[in-house]
């Protein structure tokens, strides 16, 4: 029965998405309760799978029992189990938030649709992480990008449509590039199953290097476009800032990470470390990551809209993960995975707390945050915590990421990137600190001296607090994550 759990998760998610439209629109509460129950069940099973693969080892799931040469295959190993667990945990917490803050620009008629999209999103992400097949990844990726795009355009505003259009177009280009890479690999190996392709690529690497080089380029650039790696981040700031608060958190914290996870799979499971090192891809990735860290922060400084600023900050933080991947060592990958967690949590907190501010006061301008800390101490307090994490102050998970990334870079003989980490910390401070200072130390015209309560629904403040607690927990005792991440890293051979 345990072997069936992954597919049961997928079916459950898809079925829920299909069942929601069958409910009457008035019974919105039913939808929410059903959604939460399903999410909780999937969460439990993801947790159990994580425990299972870490104790008894990885296993395959074959659709219809066909052999992997022609059939589809899911691979559940510590890596995929860990990231499905990450995705579902974070999404469940953000879901709780979204139940209270669904009003952020979404028409009442669309509430049900929003949750349908959320479930299809989750379904696609689970599929991407579980699947062991390149073409299947493509299909799930397309489902994911359409769904994401629909979530962006669910707010009926001018900017949302433009952002969604740009998103869908660039993502489609990314997907097609990826598919082109798959086709080139299929041409020389004859398979789409990742492990078989890996074998084939190693065999034909000497005979058809051109095919493999072009495949690698197209796949990496395509995924880079979808993962918003620096010069290809064009769509991200608009898309993430236009989306409703809770979905901005989902997009920045989870969805972008999923593409990075595919990138890791493609680099280390499909091509293998020897080929990508021979192609100098790691050093290229490192340079791109470093440039992204600096430029993302540099653009973030200039933003007036706080959600756009957070979007650019995501671009910078993705640079960290790319840098970690580019180190192409188990230390580097370990910290890249850790940062997926760390940034996921921190960015959710940032987006959600900003969402709470927008919910209560409708403040989107960076300069409008004067004295807001007295009116919403909990939200802005958590914002502060996460922002300090972004800067890299100890006791937050951001410090652990930065510290270990520095160690990994130096260990891999790339000590120059430590300077990038420092520069990024300072740049992050330049745009986060004024907001915090204004929020807590500047006077507001309303002249609030005394701290008052947040006055937002409990369901909104609870998720922020839970995630904020996570920042500190995994920042103070990172072994919780590192133990899991280490077993995930060990599924890749270096």
């Amino acid at each position: 029965m345990i072997e069936q759990l992954p597919i049961i998760n997928l079916i459950l998610l898809l079925t829920t998405a299909l069942v929601i439209p069958l409910f009457k629109k008035q019974r919105f509460m039913v939808t929410l309760i059903l959604s939460f129950v399903v999410l909780f069940i999937v969460w439990l099973s993801a947790l159990y799978l994580l425990y299972h693969v870490n104790t008894t080892g990885a296993f395959y799931y074959r659709f219809g029992g066909y052999s992997p040469t022609i059939g589809l295959e899911l691979l559940i190993n510590p890596f995929s189990a860990l990231f499905t667990f990450f995705v579902i945990t974070l999404l469940m917490i953000i879901f709780i938030y979204s139940t209270a803050d669904a009003s952020d620009g979404i028409h009442e008629r669309e509430y049900g649709r929003y949750y349908i999209l959320m479930f299809i999103l989750l379904f696609a992400m689970f599929g991407i992480i579980y699947t062991n097949d390149l073409f299947n990844t493509y299909v799930f990726m397309e489902i994911l990008s359409i769904t994401t795009c629909a979530i962006i355009s669910i707010k009926r505003k001018k900017k949302n449509y433009a952002a969604a259009f740009r998103y869908v177009m660039l993502n489609e280009m990314g997907s097609l590039s990826y598919l082109f890479g798959v086709a080139l690999l299929y041409m020389v190996t004859g398979y789409t199953n990742i492990e078989l392709v890996f074998q084939g690529v190693q065999d034909v690497w000497v005979i058809y290097p051109t095919n493999i080089i072009i495949a690698a380029i197209f796949m990496i650039v395509g995924l880079g476009l979808k993962a918003a790696i620096f010069p290809l981040h064009i769509w991200l700031p608009d898309a993430h800032s236009a989306a409703p608060s809770s979905s901005s958190a989902i997009l920045s914290a989870i969805v972008v990470k999923v593409y990075l996870i595919i990138l890791v799979k493609v680099l280390f499971s499909v091509f293998g470390i020897t080929i990508i090192e021979a192609l100098h891809i790691p050093s290229l990735l490192m340079v791109i990551g470093a440039v992204g860290i600096v430029m993302g922060s540099f653009f973030a400084i200039a933003q007036h809209d706080i959600k756009r600023m957070l979007g650019y900050s995501s671009v910078a933080q993705i640079g960290y993960i790319v840098l970690g991947i580019g180190l192409a060592s188990s230390l580097g990958l370990r910290i890249a995975f850790y940062h997926v967690f760390s940034h996921g949590i921190m960015k959710s907190v940032l987006f959600l707390s900003v969402g709470a501010v927008i919910y209560q006061r409708n403040l989107r301008k960076v300069t409008a945050y004067n004295g807001i800390g007295y009116m919403m101490p909990l939200s802005i307090g958590m914002f502060t915590l996460a922002a300090l994490g972004m800067i890299g102050i100890p006791l937050t998970s951001g410090f652990i990421s930065k510290f270990n990334l520095g160690i990994a870079a130096l260990d891999g003989g790339q000590g120059i990137y430590i300077i990038i980490l420092v520069v990024s910390g300072i740049l992050n401070a330049i745009y986060y600190l004024p907001i915090i200072i204004a929020a807590f130390l500047r006077e507001n015209p309303e002249n609030q001296i005394y701290v008052s309560k947040d006055k937002v629904p409990l369901l909104m403040i609870m998720p922020i607090l839970i995630l904020g607690a996570f920042i500190v927990i995994i920042g103070v005792y990172p072994a919780i994550i590192f133990d899991l991440v280490d077993s995930a890293v060990s599924t890749f051979s270096f």
Partner: protein
């Protein structure tokens, strides 16, 4: 389009189109074609109806609610049949391994669960096409 020729020919053609679509769906497992192509045929027949007789009449024949249910229902059928494989001690979408009769090669009743899956896909594709078309048309008319 208030053209009598178009209207009459459409009335004539649509049953054949739909019949052909059903034929393709049902023969999906023994000849080229299948749920997608057949569903697309049925869907285009409905689009043709909409084009000729207008959205309002088409909506009466094939309302939004119906297409919503058909969309969900088609894929749910697929999932249900696939999940039967799990129930019958196989994997998801198991065919022979779960004990479905495969029948004789070349006959209509063969291929285990594949014809059923094809029907599900056909419903889904047909209803999706018509829904999308209606949505697009209504957006413009608004």
């Amino acid at each position: 389009m208030n053209d009598i020729i178009v209207k009459s020919i459409t009335r004539l053609v649509i049953p054949f189109l739909q019949l052909y679509g059903i034929y393709i769906i049902l023969h999906g497992h023994i000849s080229p074609g299948g749920g997608f192509s057949g569903g697309a045929l049925i869907g285009s027949s409905l689009i043709l109806y909409t084009l000729v007789f207008g959205v309002d009449r088409a909506q009466k024949k094939f309302s939004h609610r119906v297409s919503e249910i058909a969309e969900s229902g088609g894929i749910l059928l697929y999932l249900f049949v696939g999940a039967l494989g799990i129930a019958l001690t196989g994997n998801f979408l198991s065919n022979k391994a779960a004990g479905f009769p495969l029948g004789e090669l070349g006959s209509l009743l063969s291929g285990g669960i594949i014809p059923v899956l094809m029907i599900g896909i056909g419903i889904k594709v047909a209803s999706t096409m018509i829904t999308l078309f209606h949505v697009l048309i209504q957006e413009e008319s608004q």
